[in-house]
Symmetry: C2
Subunit: 357 residues, 2 copies
């Protein structure tokens, strides 16, 4: 059976001032009337029963999250006491799925990505499930790159393994972390590189085996938890294990090392919308290349992202800028500095400007 | 006796969104706790009794103005039915002063300029009054230029006429309208050019004589008004006269043509603070050259003017920008486009965005 695993522990600081500590990006409705986590769930519902979907999140977001997705049973919301990157998170989810469904396949998804072509996306999950089930591979979805993006990791793929329902599945040669511009340009022209979407499909049993081999300390911790699941020691044991384990990504910890890793090249209209600067990829622009949410009047204003639901924004001589207004704050920065919004939030943390975090 | 004439009819659109139709620049407290008209009155009070100060304004501002300067008697607030530039405004004021004090001298001042050195300014008015009284000259205050400003008119001065209290008074050779940059640079290096401050001192009788000679139609209109002042026809007659007269500045209508025009070169820390871009001339900058009013956090932010009393403004990679927040609007534009705020207001007028005007 296919299970959903939605990772919802992110802080989304690059979407400040909209994304806040108490209500990060995945719990915000930046792109539509539904929040990103709601969109994520809506998307997989035709394929995966909500009873078979787990959401992993942090304690401070659990309450708001439960409000937003009341269709998910309480016991399917797993709370990590602290964030330890993706490997522990995925390992923990695998424990629960394997107990419930020893042969279960899990689709590991982010809670804050956009996917335009939902039908294609569900096709991909179905195909990946079959391969994971039949072949025992670790499957990842690799997005055909549109431009030499330096904000994503890349996957180099090799020989074709098989083809199902018009989808070809390839062996992965290697994973590459976020490259420099020139390197990314080389990837694009060589043709056998894909963007690493961070979406994975595999059997719970398979990934636990891989963790046992490549991350033995994490595996021991997970086994301690496994022994007490559904007992009154569950929460305390998770806390203990998490306080002692290494923070490590599934990419670095497993994917780069495992042998049987496959990728499905695809193009389901995916974007991780990592920061305000990526908004024009996913929302329509006006004739001057502006994305405007709210009331705006401009003279010589182009290529800009203006999100201002409360006030009239008047701009003169503005090009490629990000202007974001919320109830209590206003962000102004050039689009090319969009990633630095994270730095801004860190600066505010240092200055204990808690009310704005 | 010296009388004050404060012209308060301006719309101050270049200070939008702070300056509004119902409460323009002179009725705003942009630079201190007092509004600009209050500052203007405070400045001259040591020299000119409030009973001898006239304020000329438009109907829509009269009520707010009376609230702000309750010390000015109601009959000293003269309402122009429409704006017709400075010549009719000054002529009208001269009528009232001459009736009250046939030998009276009037100091014509703007309601929305800043002057830092108040003591020096009052010295200048005293000296100018003496020259106006004794010699019958039209006197203007010429500011020693600091830079090749293209936003001001210039005055070329010639021979010295006399000196009183260490102030030298020169004959004016000519008035020059706002010059191009290269021309302004030439003025600065030649040494005998001054900025035209738009502040004038003369006998009411003298300026009315000059209007009779150089603007005879305006003079006839003023005489019609003079005949009915203090009767129940006063208001209607002013309306009639104003509806028929030409809109013309005192500079163009009189100063450029009159023979006995003198200037006192001076430096009382004057600024007409014509638009947001001139704020750094009059308010202190921080170490990055920013003028900040409100709560701000910046990364790589310099040379900018940020006026935001309501929200936290966060800026990254911003240089020489104007960012102005009010209750209902937000303006963002480069400092070099500061003059274009006027255009923005005109655009909003065309679009009937009345609530923001």
């Amino acid at each position: 059976m296919l299970h959903g695993v939605i990772m919802a522990g992110g802080s989304g600081t690059r979407f400040w001032p909209k994304s806040r500590k108490s209500k990060p990006k995945q719990l915000q409705n930046i792109f539509s009337k539904r929040t990103m986590i709601q969109e994520t769930l809506d998307r997989i519902k035709p394929l995966i029963d909500t009873n078979n979907t787990l959401i992993i999140t942090g304690r401070s977001h659990a309450e708001e999250l439960k409000k937003q997705v009341p269709e998910i049973p309480d016991q399917n919301i797993i709370i990590e006491p602290v964030g330890r990157n993706t490997a522990p998170c995925i390992g923990l989810a695998a424990l629960y799925i394997k107990r419930k469904d020893p042969q279960g396949v899990m689709a590991v998804l982010a809670s804050d990505h956009l996917i335009k072509d939902e039908k294609e996306f569900l096709n991909l999950l179905s195909v990946a499930k079959m391969v994971a089930e039949e072949k025992g591979y670790l499957i990842t979805l690799g997005i055909r790159p549109k431009k030499p993006e330096t904000g994503y990791g890349y996957i180099q793929y090799g020989e074709e393994i098989l083809a199902i329902n018009n989808k070809k599945i390839f062996k992965v040669n290697r994973f590459i972390e976020k490259p420099k511009k020139e390197v990314a340009e080389g990837f694009l022209s060589s043709g056998n590189y894909l963007w690493n979407s961070g979406m994975f499909i595999w059997k719970a049993d398979t990934i636990l085996n891989m963790i046992e081999i490549h991350l033995p300390e994490l595996y021991q911790g997970l086994m301690r938890i496994d022994n007490v699941i559904s007992t009154d020691k569950e929460r305390d044991t998770i806390e203990e294990v998490y306080s002692g384990i290494e923070s490590i990504s599934i990419d670095y910890g497993i994917m780069e090392k495992a042998k049987y890793v496959a990728v499905i090249p695809c193009d389901p209209g995916w974007s991780d919308v990592g920061c305000w600067n990526s908004i024009p990829e996913v929302l329509p622009c006006d004739e001057d290349g502006n994305v405007i949410i709210g009331k705006h009047i401009g003279i010589d204003t182009s290529g800009s992202i203006i999100h201002a639901p409360h006030k009239l924004i008047a701009t003169i001589g503005i090009k490629d800028m990000i202007i974001i207004e919320t109830e209590d704050a206003l962000l102004i920065c050039p689009r090319e500095r969009g990633e630095d919004v994270k730095k801004m939030v860190e600066t505010m943390k240092e200055k204990s400007m808690d009310e704005y975090l």
